[in-house]
């Protein structure tokens, strides 16, 4: 049926066969995109600035001689390139992002509004202190909130990520031990730790001594006590640990470590399970990083830079790195230079400036919009959601440690035994269901681990949809539908990638046009 102009008025798909290969390589509105260097054309530029005149070089012959190798594209081409790529991305703004140990929670839009206020967004870190009193006041307020929430007296604000915070904490421990004139070089790290823990200890010149967990997935005080000695610098413990379990003997562990002359570094990546409920200072923690980009809702995972302030106990406080904000005679001031503060023995500084200001604004906006009681509910709801996921999937899947859990639900691959389906296949099939997979094969202490962290920002309805997919997949695997898993993902822009070849023989196309190569 057609109208008077010949336009069909009803769809007629009776003649449609198999989908054709397209001439463009794109499939419908799923657009392919090459690397920006492959799109580059000589002589094309987005902005056309006149050649500067009368600029005398002051680099004494060290100026760059060749081209810097930037790709040549017009402004609309650049915009399309990145928008096309962004459509391939999966983000918390699109759906559930259940990545365990990552706390991928919603990033409230109020935070973004606050961070874009020109008074914060347009500052320069080298502005005179008298012109940035509001920003310094904000850093001071945020530090105050963190002190109250951790029960620890001093906060180093400058570390820019969780691992950077770990480095900060362990450098302070190293400085404290050096100041005592001791040569303690052994650091105890549980087998379930984040990989960054042993890496950080090693980076600070310590030797890592791994402690196995007990049958309940936790570290026992007895297993710590038997490793303690005069050469132990401290312990790095995550609480709740990466199995999503609260370390019940944490206070006893802290006491034993302190008796032996060591320090207690707490990996604060899982603080979302405790915030407002437990103060790490009360557990005997000497240093703990706080991922503002996890617990305090600032964007991460491709959405923005991290921020990892570190809280210190009285024992480590003197060694906290510069800079820090103080209340001076004429408002807020910064302690920046060596010898500025009496009694302090900072181990140095970690960053050129004061930290991730944009993240500070977002984190404080989050705290102030929740209030103390709201933050307490964050932890409660996060734990409730994880237990809901575990309870709904326990019979279809398998759990290495019986619940209740804290903020994340840990499954193993026992339920997949004999199905021909591995944890990796299960994760790929979850992509077909429209979800970012959970964390897989971590923690290392659990075979075929699948670590699901829903966070408090998922509603019951969204959890139910996610659980239905997980459950459906688990039952399909057990029913012998291995093809669904082995071929997955079927619906992603690319099918299964060869991770082994990618690691062994990576193809780094962009490197050919890197600035260094072009300048040579």
């Amino acid at each position: 049926m057609s109208d008077a102009q010949g336009r069909p008025t009803q769809p007629d798909i009776s003649a449609a066969g198999a989908p054709p290969a397209t001439f463009s390589g794109d499939r419908g509105l799923a657009l392919e995109e090459a690397s920006i260097f492959a799109l580059s054309r000589a002589g094309v530029t987005g902005v056309d600035l006149p050649e500067p005149k009368g600029v005398a070089p002051r680099l004494a012959g060290l100026e760059r001689k060749g081209a810097i190798g930037l790709p040549g594209l017009s402004e609309p081409e650049v915009v399309r390139h990145f928008v096309r790529l962004s459509r391939r991305n999966y983000a918390i703004d699109l759906g559930v992002f259940p990545l365990g140990s990552c706390t991928m929670k919603h990033n409230p839009r109020l935070n973004e509004k606050m961070a874009r206020l020109p008074g914060f967004a347009d500052l320069h870190p080298l502005q005179p202190v008298s012109t940035v009193q509001g920003a310094l006041g904000l850093i001071d307020s945020l530090a105050h909130w963190l002190k109250v929430l951790t029960g620890l007296p001093v906060i180093a604000m400058s570390p820019k990520a969780g691992a950077h915070g770990e480095l900060c904490g362990m450098m302070a421990i190293r400085a404290a031990i050096d100041a005592r004139g001791e040569r303690r070089r052994r650091v105890l790290v549980p087998a379930s730790a984040h990989g960054t823990n042993p890496a950080t200890a090693a980076q600070c010149g310590f030797e890592v001594d791994e402690i196995a967990g007990d049958a309940t997935g936790r570290v026992s005080a007895a297993s710590v006590a038997e490793r303690l000695g005069p050469d132990v610098a401290g312990i790095m413990l995550t609480n709740p640990n990466t199995c999503g379990l609260f370390e019940r003997e944490v206070r006893e562990i802290a006491a034993r470590v302190h008796e032996a002359g060591g320090y207690f570094y707490c990996d604060g990546a899982n603080f979302n399970a405790l915030v407002g409920r437990v103060r790490p200072g009360d557990l005997g923690v000497d240093a703990m990083h706080i991922n503002l980009h996890k617990t305090f809702s600032t964007p991460h995972g491709g959405g923005g830079p991290g921020a990892g302030p570190v809280a210190f106990s009285e024992a480590l406080a003197p060694f906290a790195p510069r800079p820090w904000v103080v209340h001076g005679a004429a408002g807020f001031a910064l302690v920046e230079a060596e010898g500025d503060a009496k009694g302090a023995k900072p181990f140095g500084r970690l960053t050129a400036f004061h930290g991730q200001m944009g993240m500070f604004v977002r984190a404080l906006a989050y705290m102030m919009s929740h209030g103390g009681d709201g933050l307490r509910q964050v932890a409660e709801d996060a734990v409730l959601n994880a237990n809901y996921v575990m309870a709904c999937l326990k019979d279809a899947m398998s759990v290495p440690f019986a619940g209740p859990c804290m903020h994340e639900a840990l499954f193993d691959d026992a339920f997949l035994e004999g199905t021909g389906v591995a944890t990796l296949d299960f994760a790929k099939a979850l992509i077909d269901e429209g979800y970012h997979p959970m964390t897989v094969y971590f923690p290392l202490v659990v075979h075929g681990a699948m670590l699901v962290e829903p966070t408090e920002t998922e509603s019951k309805e969204s959890l139910d949809r996610f659980i239905a997919s997980m459950r459906g997949l688990a039952l399909a695997a057990k029913a012998g539908d291995a093809a669904r898993f082995k071929g997955a993902p079927f619906y992603a822009p690319r099918r299964r990638l060869d991770e082994t070849q990618a690691a062994r023989k990576p193809v780094l196309v962009a490197a050919e046009a890197s600035p260094r190569a072009a300048a040579e």
Binding site: G195, Y441, F442, L444, T500, A503, R504
Partner: protein
């Protein structure tokens, strides 16, 4: 003589020297090996202390020396083809060769039969 550790390394004694690698069980658990970091010749390692690092698509793990001694050679072929560890863990996938410091340390290790029983129990 070949002996095994509970961390899934093997050591084959050849006179005063010992060839070290990881067991087929370890290679299978790791999955495809993509990188092996080996020590420099001349480095001295202690028994059960870190001697190398192996990285697979799943994880990075330390490899501990089954016996103490001085590294006299490493398997350079692993730099180009780390997959040898998966293909032939007990042969071409060897990691390093040590000059044994104290043969008494070998007594702390498992025999092939003991290791087989140990793996079955995992």
């Amino acid at each position: 003589m070949i002996k095994f550790t509970d961390q899934h390394e093997w050591v084959r004694v050849e006179g005063e020297e010992a060839v070290v690698g990881i067991t087929p069980y370890a290679a299978e658990q790791l999955g495809d090996v993509v990188f092996v970091e080996l020590p420099e010749a001349g480095r001295k390692v202690d028994q059960f202390k870190e001697a190398a690092v192996v990285e697979s698509v799943k994880a990075a793990s330390e490899i501990y020396a089954p016996v103490g001694g001085e590294v006299v050679a490493v398997n350079a072929a692993l730099a180009e083809t780390p997959g040898l560890v998966n293909e032939d863990a007990l042969g071409k996938g060897w990691f390093l060769k040590l000059r044994i410091r104290d043969k008494g340390e070998l007594d702390k290790l498992m025999s092939a039969e003991e290791y087989e029983t140990y793996v079955k129990g995992l």
